[in-house]
Amino acid sequence: MTAEVFAIEDALASYDPVMGLEVHVELNTKSKMFCGCPTEFGAPPNTQTCPVCLGLPGALPVVNARAVESAIKIGLALNCEIAQWCRFARKNYFYPDMPKNFQTSQYDEPIAFNGWTEVVVDGETYRIEIERAHMEEDTGKSTHVGGATGRIHGASHSLVDYNRAGIPLIEIVTKTIEVPPAKAAAVARAYVSMLRDLLLALDVSDVRMDQGSLRCDANVSLKPKGSSVLGTRTETKNVNSFRSVERAVTYEITRQAAVLASGGKVVQETRHWHEDTGITTSGREKSDAEDYRYFPEPDLVPVAPSREWVEELRATLPEAPSTRRVRLQEEWGFTDLEMRDVVNGGALELVVGTVELGVTPAAAKKWWLGELARAANESGQALGELGVGAAEVAEVQKLVDTGALNDKLARQVFDGLVKGEGTPAQIIEARGLALVSDDSALLEAIDRAIAANPAVVEKVNSGKPAAAGALIGAVMKDMRGQADAAKVRELLNAKLGI
């Protein structure tokens, strides 16, 4: 099933997208939100459970203090206010993967609220207002067996794994994101990407999108240009890559535009994102009748973090990734474009590491975004997975600086490194890559070049010294590149008397 969609340009010509993002983050605490069960990913099904996270009759939750600490750190990093006193609430609904048939969550009293953050897209900075960041528990995981699609329809039976049930989650909810319509999808992607970096820097989550520890729900609606009336929104659930966030938002804009333009109505519903086909399909209809019957969780006492604790945590916050980038760009003297290339190329941390070992930022950038990025691209690996680290890059650059290697030879050393041929020294030895610094060897090569190119020598002698370049080239070729070109020029000039 494919829906009629508009081209994005046509959609944006008639409608302004209105967007809000909800990001679920699984915390990397050792134990679950309300019990002591381990949270390790990938354990055999239902081996990390107890009466509490299975919701057995009589069992009671107790709040994980470390999860509260992580929630506060996230709130602070997103410039939120931290509640002096807040409560958990029960969100009541039935689903087989939810042991208690209510989710212990936060409703009208979140631990963090009223924050903001910034993202950079194409050199422009956009401010994103944060509505809230609240604590909740994850549900179990259903697997539908026996059907062709792995979905519940057509399945013969379903299996539920409760290992994930009760893992602490933080849900970060933005206010309506107001950016130029053409930037909406890119800003959504940049926001999720920024959050990932931030959460990594805070060390509160593994943020493995492929394992579902970071999941994004995108709310999108359209309003006709010039109108102030909000349209009906859809919620595209569990989008789990940066690229998909951008694509899913774009798709919903084009789909809703087509629906509206044909006189139809956008249905308020949740939608599923399909990575393979790049479309969303209708999920559960989310009418106003949906009623979670929230009420304060009577099994838990309120959470009241002391101001001293909050300030202690604030003092431990690392520099925000966005702030750090601005600082680094300034220190390195990079243009916006250069900095963006480094960041988008996934080379930021590698360049930082290389510069810390004494390499100039320009040289570090040159190797990582040049030779090494090309190699990574060819082998389909991430830059950090090449088997080349900051230490190797620094070592090679040091040899270039001392004149032992030139750029061409250095590239060959990197090739050897990528191919796993050993250390730079071993590769230089094995491939015979050192520059020849012995004058007599060079002079012999110069003599051979002069003897072989009488016409060129004639040109030089008749007052055209620029023609000597051809002789240098011949010498370099003779030396198989392993000569310092400046040194060759110096010796050649002396020989020719120019």
Partner: protein, 501 residues
């Protein structure tokens, strides 16, 4: 040796310490008594003879080895079927959990076991503790040992009836709106609702989380206090558990002194709708306490009249959520799983078949009261009333040390009498509910028999949060004074049950 089942826990403990009798003998005597009378009383849903005798034997060998044991070591106890006991069937009186054996012990059970208390079995109760008569049990009604045609009270009718039928000297109940105190009153036994959070709810199958409180039941005040001391105290597994030392309840029960104590009679809990015989015994008890040196004044708690409606919004709201877990997915009953029905269908068929009428009524009430658009008018408003009631208590305790009232407006009613009239049934808990809403400590002590029907009347004492000791002080004094009149505890006046073999 006189009949071991007639003895108090304290007496049994003394006999064991003196080496005159073993825990196995005591346990066997009670198992025999259960075998003889429970066919008529139906206090028990499950008798764990093997487990009980094994626990008793373990205590005997520890004692023989010279180990220092707690005062209740080796004494048998009846456990309300709403508390989980590892490996022992636990149903909460519902078809929904028929045959379920929990994989863990409730904290209260863990503490009982650690103290060497011998658990005889699980006692009958209104389904999921909803009811005031034990007629709502999915496994049949419990009969009041004073008159087998009467209800024993609810929801903990099984526990109190087990005491009154001499099937156990000690029992555990849970009190959400009076489920320990009301059956205590109806069976002429002692029932104590500790301060909310004073005893752990971990392992208590929840009815209404903000109200549920496990507590001790016994035939004497001192026995109840000893049991209280065993089960009370902070539990890190229960977030609402109070992290403070347990009040000195045993000392208070032994001291049993009310001289100089200020006692407030709650004006609103009496008069119209109260059985004359109940009022007469209550006032005599108050007079008796005055003679013992207590200072008695009348106190007004104006918001108590709203306690019942507030309670019947808060309780069903929390219950509707707490009972959602009974969905046929992981344990208990499953109906309609024929490979054709969806999970949702199996869930609803199971809930239809597994829940009784009263449970369904309260789930519907609670679901409605919490639904959007009604939350503020119902649940929100009830919470405000709750605050006002707590304030009434606070003001009253500025004038007096404890508050008193009849425990119930009437004595035990006949089986079937009120089962079709929920409102009449709910009114039974008029006196007991305010203490649950405020989280205060409260207890019922036997204070005589009503003239009209010769059935027990309960004297209700309410004390501030974490002043559970005051309950025992008053209860102990009253019990001692009345024992002089009666020549023993009130229970000794109960008619002999016909023994069947």
């Amino acid at each position: 040796m006189s009949d071991l089942t007639r003895k108090t826990a304290v007496e049994l403990s003394e006999l064991m310490t003196a080496g005159e009798v073993s825990s196995v003998e005591i346990t066997q005597a009670h198992l025999d008594r259960i075998g003889a009378v429970d066919g008529a009383v139906h206090a028990f849903l499950h008798v764990d003879s093997e487990g009980a005798l094994a626990q008793a034997a373990a205590v005997d060998s520890r004692r023989a080895a010279g180990e220092e044991l707690g005062p209740l070591a080796g004494v048998p106890l009846a456990l309300k079927d709403v508390l989980t006991q590892d490996g022992v069937p636990t149903t909460a009186g519902s078809k929904m959990l028929e045959g379920w054996r929990p994989p863990y012990d409730a904290t209260v059970v863990r503490r009982l076991k650690a103290a060497g208390v011998v658990i005889l079995g699980k006692t009958n109760m209104d389904e999921f503790a909803m009811g005031s008569s034990t007629e709502n049990s999915a496994y049949g009604t419990t009969h009041n040992p004073w008159d087998l045609n009467r209800i024993p009270g609810g929801s903990g009718g099984g526990s109190s009836a087990a005491l009154a039928a001499y099937e156990a000297p000690l029992a555990i109940g849970t009190d959400t709106g009076g489920s320990i105190r009301q059956p205590g009153a109806f069976t002429g036994t002692v029932g104590v609702k500790p301060t909310y959070g004073g005893t752990s709810r971990y392992g208590l199958i929840a009815l209404a989380s903000s109200l549920d409180t496990p507590g001790p039941c016994a035939r004497t005040t001192l026995d109840a206090a000893l049991l209280h001391e065993v089960i009370a105290g902070h539990d890190p597994m229960d977030s609402t558990s109070i992290d403070q030392p347990v009040p000195a309840v045993v000392d208070a029960a032994r001291r049993a002194d009310v001289a100089g104590l200020r006692i407030g009679v709650v004006k609103e809990l009496g008069g119209e709708g109260y059985q004359p015989g109940v009022e007469a015994r209550f006032h005599e008890a108050v007079e008796l306490l005055t003679k013992l040196g207590a200072e008695v004044v009348e106190v007004s708690c104006p918001h108590f009249e709203y306690a019942l409606p507030a309670y019947y919004l808060i309780l069903p709201s929390e219950a509707s959520s707490n009972l959602a877990k009974f969905d046929a997915m992981r344990y208990g009953l499953r109906v309609g799983d024929n490979g054709e029905n969806s999970a949702e269908k199996v869930m609803s068929l199971t809930r239809e078949a597994g829940f009784g009428a009263e449970v369904k009524r309260r789930i519907m009430l609670g679901t409605h009261a919490l639904s959007s658009g009604y939350y503020d008018a119902y649940y929100g408003q009830a919470q405000k009333v709750r605050t006002l009631i707590a304030r009434d208590f606070t003001r009253a305790y500025e004038q007096v040390d404890v508050l008193v009232s009849p425990a119930t407006p009437t004595t035990a009613f006949a089986i079937g009498d009120r089962i079709d009239d929920p409102i009449a049934m709910y009114k039974n808990d008029l006196c007991t509910i305010p203490s649950n809403l405020a989280g205060n400590a409260a207890a019922s002590f036997p204070c005589g028999l009503a003239d009209e029907d010769g059935l027990p009347v309960g004297f209700h004492v309410m004390a501030p949060v974490m002043r559970d000791d005051l309950l025992y002080q008053v209860g102990g004094a009253l019990e001692a004074a009345l024992a002089e009149q009666w020549g023993g505890v009130l229970m000794s006046k109960a008619p002999e049950l016909e023994v069947t073999r």
